[in-house]
Symmetry: D2
Subunit: 284 residues, 4 copies
C-alpha cells in the first residue's frame, strides 16, 4: 500500500507545547447561548438548572483530569486551571484544550435530562475553547479575579435589566436605555428603591459564580454513586455550608473519584487563597 | 469595580491566526474509543450504527460551517476541510478547531438515541481535535489519501483479526501473532482461503470510509425534516448509487440547509477530483 | 558537575519550524538609517555607494545559502527568498533569519571600506529581520511586487523632496507641505516642469531597486577573485546590459561560488518571470 | 500605483509577542567559529583578544538596550537577559532577537581592529540568535547556571586537550582518545600531575566567563571616551577587583552611557544574587 508516499503530510502539523512552569488555563465559552437559552426557556437572569448543569459538566472534566486544581464557572463559561508543572498530553496546548472542551460539551448534553427533566434539548449546543498561560501565581489569581469581577458586573446589570422588563413592563430597548451610564451604586440603589431588593441578599451562586476545588485530604476517598439532581440540588448556594461534595462513579470504569468541593465564594480577596493553600502548591 | 485592574490578563492570550491562503484541515479523533466501543457493545470490526452516527455528527458541522468543502471520516475520526480563503472566526486556529470539536461531540451525544435506540449511553465520550495547514491542493489531496490509505490498512487488518477471533476461536493474542509480518496480499489470501471472503466485496463504507461533499448545484434547496435512521440507513454503501443526500431542519432555527452528499468512494485517485472539480474551487 | 541539574532549561526553547512547502521570505531592514545616513553624509535621495554596499552584503548571503533563489533590495532593506522546499537549518525560522541578518550585517560592515573609502564608519549600524511564509507562487510574486511598488513610490517622493530642498531652497517642512496630497502624476509633472527632469530617465537602480538571481546555467562555474569597487561600479544601472555578474572567492574556504546576476528591472510584470522560469522551479 | 493591490501580503506576517511577565533571554552563538578561529590564528584554548572583543560587542548591546539587565558570555556565545516586564519592540520576539544579533555582529566586526590590531579580518563572521522565555527567577538563574556550568566543563576539557596537543605533542585524535571517559577530577589530576598546572589558578575569565551588569547607582554617570584595548585589558580577571567599568561615547550621538561592570565570577551560587539584588528587581 502506498502509505509511505502520503505520510509526509504529517510533517505539516505544528508543535504547540505550552511553555514549562506556567499555569495552563483553559476556558470554554458557550457559542450563541443567547439563542440556546431562549430556545430552551431558561429562567432569566439566572437559571439554576442551567448553572448546575454547567458545574456538573465541569465536574466531569475535573474527574477525568487530575491535574486540574481549580475550576471557575459563571454564566455560560467555565475555566479550568491545570497545575503549572502538569505533563498531561505532554503539555500540547491544542490537545489539552480540545479534550477539555469536548468532554465538557459531551457531559453537558449527556447530563441535560437530569436537570431539565421533561424539557427536551432542541438542538446540540456547542462551546469554544482557548488556552492561556500565566507565569506567576499573581497572574493566575488576577485572571480568576477578572472572571469573577465580570460575573458580578454582568449579574448586577442583568438583575436590573430583567427586573425592568419582567416587573416594570419595559421593553428590552427601554431597559437598556434606562441603565445606560449607570454606576454599580446606581444599580444597587435602583434595585433597592424600585424593587425592594437588596442585591447582596441574592444567592452567591449568582453573584460569585461557582468554584470547584479538590478536597485537601485526599487520603479519605469515598465512592459515591452519582445521584444526579439530589446531589446537585444540595450543592446550591442556599445550603448552610455553601459547599457540597459529590462523587462520580461509572460501572464500567475502575476510576476512583477524588473528592471535590463546589463553592460560591469570593476568590478576589486573599482569604480564599490562605484558606486553601494547597491549591497553588498541588503536587501530583 | 476593580475590573480594569485585572483586565491586563487578557494580554497573555496568544494570537493563532492560520497562515492565509492555506487549506485549514481540522481532525477530530475519538479519545479512548476502544473502551467506549467495548462498553457499548459495538459490532466488531465495523458497527454501522457507530459509523453512521459519526457521519451524522459530521453533517451537523457541515451544516453550521459553510466554508467546510469536504469532510472525510473513518473509524473514530473525522476530518473537515475549510476552503483556503475562509475567514471564519478570522482564521483563528484554536477558535475554529474548538468550535468544530465541540459541535461534533455535542451532535454525537445528541443523536446517539436515533442510532443506538434502546442501548443507553453509559458515559459521555470525547474527541480531541487539531488543525493543520496545507499550502497546495496537492498537499491537501495527499493528506486525504493518507487518511483513506490508513482506513484501508486498518480495516483489512481488523477484518482478519476479528475473523480469527470470532470464527476461528483464537484469543486476541493468538490472532495478533498470526497476523504479525503479513502483507496485504497475505491478508487477502487468508480471508479468501480460510473464511471464503473476498475482501473487495465488503461494503465500501468499511473499505473507503465516508466522504461528505456539498452538491454542486446549490440553487435548488429542498428543506427536509430530519428523519434519522431511515435517512441514514439509505446512506449506507449498499445503496445502488452508493450515495445519498439528506437534509437537516430544526424548528427553532431559520438556517436553510444546503444539500450535501455522503459518498463511500475512492479519493486517492484523480477521478474523484475530476468528477467534483468544484470542491477545490469552492467560493463563498 | 551539576550540569544535568540545570539542563532542563533547554525545554523552554520553542520549536519554530516553517510550514513545509511554503516560500520562506527573510527581510532585513536598516535600524534608524535616517540617523546613520545623516551621520555618514550619504548623498540624498540615492547614494550609489550605499546601495551597492547593500547589494554586496546581499551577495554574501546568496553565496553562503544556496537555497536563496532571489534577493531584492531597495533603500535600506533587502529581501531573501528561500526555495519552498529548502531544508536549511531544518526550516527553523529564527535560525534561518538570524543567520541571514547576522551575515548581512557582518558583510555590510566588513565591506564598508571598499565603497566608502576614506569615510570611516562612525558607529556600527544594525538591521532587524523577520520571516514570512508564502504558500503560492502568486503570493510570492505579489510580495515582491509590493516591495518594488514601495521602492517606486518612495523614490518618486524622495526625488521631488530633495529637489525642492537642494535646488529650490525649501526647508524640509516646506517641501513636505508642498508634496502633501500630490498624486504620482503631479510629482512627475513637478519634476518635469520645475526641474526639467524626466523621472523615467533616472537610473533603474533608483526606480526599480536591485534584483539578484542565480545564473541558470550552473554547470559553468568560474572562480573570480573579489575585486570590490571595480566590479560593483560595473554593476550599476548605467551599464548597457543593466546586469553584471561578480564572483566571490575567499582564500581559506573551499566554497565554490555559483554565479549570480544583479539586475535593476521590473519584477511586477509577468515578463521577468517568463524570462527567468528557473527561479520558481529551482531544485537543489 | 497598484500599491494596495499587493499590500495584502503583509497579512502573512505572524505575530510573535513574547508571553508577558517572563524573562526574555536572547542568546547569540558564533556560526562555524572553529573555522573562524583557525583562519584568524586564535590562541587555543582561550584567546584574550577574542574574548574581550566578544564582551565589547555585548557591551554595545547593553548600551543600546536599557532593558538588558545582565549579559553572560563564554566561548563564542553571549546571552542577554531582558527584564521581565520590558516593552521593547512591543515584546516581539523576532524583532528583539534580530536587532540584538545584528548589533552584536556589527560591533564585533566594527571593533575587531582594536583587539586584533594588524591581524586583518579575512571574511565576515556571523552569529545565530534565539530567544527563550523563563517564567520565574529560579528558571532564569538555572539558565545562567547552565551556561556557566557549560563554560567550566568545556574549558576544563579544552585546557587538557590543548596541553596534550601543544605540550605533549599528541595529535588531536590521540588527545581526544586520552580524555575519553574521564571525569572532572581525572582532568584536574592530569593537569596537575602531567603539566604542573592547578586548574583553579587559571584566570576566572576562562573558568567563569564574563558577566556584564549595570551599576546599581545610576545617578552618577561619567562620560568616558572609549579607549579600546587599554580599558579592556584592565577588565581582565587578573585585576584585584576582578571587575572594571568602561564607558562608551560616540561623537555624533547624544546617548549618555549608563555605567556597567564586567565581572568574571561565579553566578551559580546564591552569593552573586544576594550581592546584586537590583538585577532581578530592575525597574525602568
Amino acid at each position: 500500500m502506498a502509505k509511505s508516499k502520503f505520510e509526509y503530510v504529517k510533517q505539516f502539523e505544528v508543535e504547540d507545547k505550552c511553555l514549562p512552569n506556567c499555569w495552563i488555563v483553559i476556558r470554554v465559552d458557550g457559542k450563541a447561548f443567547h439563542r440556546f437559552t431562549d430556545s430552551h426557556h431558561f429562567v432569566k437572569p439566572n437559571d439554576d438548572r442551567g448553572l448546575t448543569l454547567m458545574t456538573r459538566a465541569a465536574q466531569a472534566v475535573m474527574e477525568e483530569y487530575n491535574d486540574v486544581v481549580l475550576a471557575y464557572g459563571q454564566s455560560d463559561e467555565y475555566t479550568f486551571v491545570f497545575r503549572r508543572n502538569t505533563n498531561v498530553f505532554n503539555r500540547r496546548g491544542s490537545k489539552i484544550m480540545s479534550n477539555v472542551v469536548s468532554l465538557f460539551t459531551s457531559s453537558y448534553v449527556f447530563h441535560w435530562g437530569r436537570y431539565f427533566n421533561t424539557q427536551t434539548m432542541q438542538y446540540p449546543p456547542s462551546f469554544d475553547g482557548r488556552w492561556v498561560l500565566y507565569p506567576t501565581d499573581k497572574n493566575l489569581k488576577d485572571y480568576l479575579s477578572w472572571r469573577q469581577a465580570d460575573c458580578h458586573i454582568n449579574n448586577l446589570y442583568n438583575t436590573c435589566f430583567w427586573k425592568l422588563v419582567q416587573e416594570s413592563g419595559m421593553t428590552p430597548a427601554q431597559a437598556q436605555e434606562r441603565l445606560k451610564g449607570t454606576l454599580s451604586s446606581d444599580k444597587n440603589e435602583l434595585l433597592y428603591t424600585e424593587f425592594n431588593l437588596n442585591y447582596n441578599h441574592l444567592p452567591e451562586l449568582y453573584r460569585k459564580g461557582s468554584v470547584i476545588i479538590r478536597k485537601q485530604d485526599t487520603d479519605i476517598i469515598e465512592k459515591n454513586h452519582l445521584d444526579g439532581n439530589s446531589s446537585l440540588s444540595s450543592s446550591s448556594s442556599f445550603s448552610p455550608r455553601n459547599s457540597v461534595s459529590f462523587g462520580y462513579h461509572i460501572e464500567q470504569t475502575p476510576r476512583i473519584s477524588t473528592k471535590i468541593d463546589v463553592l460560591h465564594c469570593d476568590i478576589i480577596g486573599e482569604k480564599f487563597w490562605t484558606d486553601h493553600p494547597h491549591i497553588l502548591s498541588f503536587k501530583k
